[in-house]
Amino acid sequence: MNAYNKLVKDLAPKKFNKWSILWVLLLVAVIIAGIIAYIDQLIKGQVVTNMRDYALWGIYISNFVFFVATSFVGSVTVAILRLTNNEWRTPMVRIAEIISVASIIMAGITIMIDMARPDRLLNLFIHARLQSPITWDVIIIPTYIVISLLLLYFPLLPDFAILKKYYTKTSPKLSKWYGKLALNWTGSKVQKTIQTKSIKIIALMIIPVGLLLQTIDAWLFSTTYRIGWDSNNFAPYFISGAFVAGVGALVTVIYIVRKVNKLEKYITDFHFDRLGKFLALACLTYLFFNINEYLIPAFTAKKGEAVHLETLFTGIYATLFWIVTIGGLVLPTIALLFKKGRKPLPLFIIGVIVVVGSWWKRYIIVTPTLLHPFLPIDGVPESWHHYFPSLHEWIITFSTLAMAFLIITLLVRYLPVIPIQRTADEQKISESEKKTES
């Protein structure tokens, strides 16, 4: 077998094995449970959640913020590394794009789950008011979905053409689909110029749009008078947090895909090392903005803010706050500074910790603030003084996470997770060479 054919065979999508099928079934089961819980929520109202007039937002919102943050990986890894000519990105960009697409789609769905009247969704367009940060979200999320899809799709064109050819005999049906998606890609010079140009424009566009997405997400909170949200630091704090969550998710997914699809030859220790350094950069940036957000304000905290910081530092949220900050950010950063910490397996573990930490981080951003309004919480049942998600909220949230995983899994199943054409170009092997080589 010549080098080119071997490359295509290695990188072509792999059929599900037994474990993958089991995994998909598990995801589908969780999703179905979530849908049932959601229908129940629609019928009974959000009284099935543990949100009440004080804790008026809960994990639906923090989960939404998490998805938005994770979707940032598309902008950072793909676009920024592309524009800075970091060649090592090649085997990771597609997975980053896939995560980005899955996350932003789920962000859009999650925010709708939080709406108590989804039947009035169209009001957001009919009666839209431009000064509301929610309207900004309504504009930026679909925009980001479209750009992310394009950033995933355009580089895929040559690969689709390759796969069309590859599957002609083994699976004509699949081949037909790939052929349709390839949009008559022949690899001619004209097509290549158009494609390169388009990708360049999209990569340029997704950076400001991605930054805006994170910023608007932060403004959703900082446009209120709430202590803990009313912060000028919020936009960069969210952007750097998204950097961490996104790259963390990328590390995690890449490790699993590499293992399942046996891509050790293409995604090497070198790539993990680079990715580890990238994650370290993200964590350090985030640490800086965390210090800006929590430590420095402690010096001049007004009374309300002091109470808020106290609940985080030593109060009822202290355990969670310190686990998330130390365990989910400081320790991973330290580990990443060592070469051994950037080996595939340790990096995978760090990635998981960072992602889980990122999820809980959003929880700690949303909930404590709501439970410290300016006026005392009075005249409401004792249970309204606290918030912990109800069973409905947990099931629905896990279901959204499962949906994100399912989108990723299906895309990994049908798309070449490592760009075939690019890899071939970089390794300087081409189809025409096979005669000379073989």
Binding site: N123, T135, D378
Partner: protein, 322 residues
Amino acid sequence: MEDNNKSSRRKFLDKGLKLGLITAIGGIGLSKISSKLNAKSHNNSSEKMELMTSDGTLIQVDSSEVVEIDHSKNKDEKYNVREGMPNRKFVMVVDLAKCKNALKCQSACNKGHYITGENAWMKVYEMQESKETAPYWMPMTCQHCDQPACVTVCPVDATFKRRDGLVLIDNERCIGCRFCMAACPYSTRVFNWGEPGQEITLNMNMEGHTPSPEHAGMPSIKGTVDKCDFCPHMIDKNKLPHCVTACPNGVFYFGDKYEDTVTNGEETLRFKKLLKDKAGYRFMEGLGTEPSVYYLPPVDRLVDFEDGLDKYNKYQSVAKPE
């Protein structure tokens, strides 16, 4: 053939012309007669009417001169719920010196707005600035801010600010995102997490009743936000809001800033003078939300703060039906 055609056309024109002339003459004649009849009725009246001018003097006018002013009859149709009552600006003054947490305001509000939830729209907070200062009771309604944070963030214009000062909610438009609740610094907004169930708990018949922003809670709608509406449905009937009339201590003064008067039902005072004399202030003025509710400091109190403690219930603001 052609000749025949021509003559028939001429005939038609001739006849038509004659007919037209007759009708025209007839029409003129008719109008002349009718105008003469009209003139007769005019000249007939020679009665005088007594009227009073705006400065109070009586004058006599020929009754034929008197014409009814054309009142715009569709005034009510033109009334815009989002613009509010023209040339009014509603304000409230709360005298903290008089409040002893009788909580009649709260129960009247709960009743008047058919509140079935567990969080009242009208609350009396136990306040104390610092350890050394005296505690006092502070009634809190929606502040009806002139720079309302809630209105700014609403994505669908469901909550809106009117010219007459009120901040109201269109419960048929609200999408239930609760951003307004997050934005409000006074924790005054309440959400219908489930079915309000007013038909069952309060035995009400809501059928055929269309919800209006001018009577919040009539009915409450699942998945939307409710709050104090300053009772425009009472103002409309020339009555005071429920909390004002219910208060046994005359704590609440309600009125119109443009008229410069506020009343608690017993005494009517000049709004500006009251604020000046008693050093009125607004709650959290520093936020810049420009509330329409003013407070008079709790000075020279006739009752002990402790008297209100009997009624104080940290965990309940809406009485549950047994």
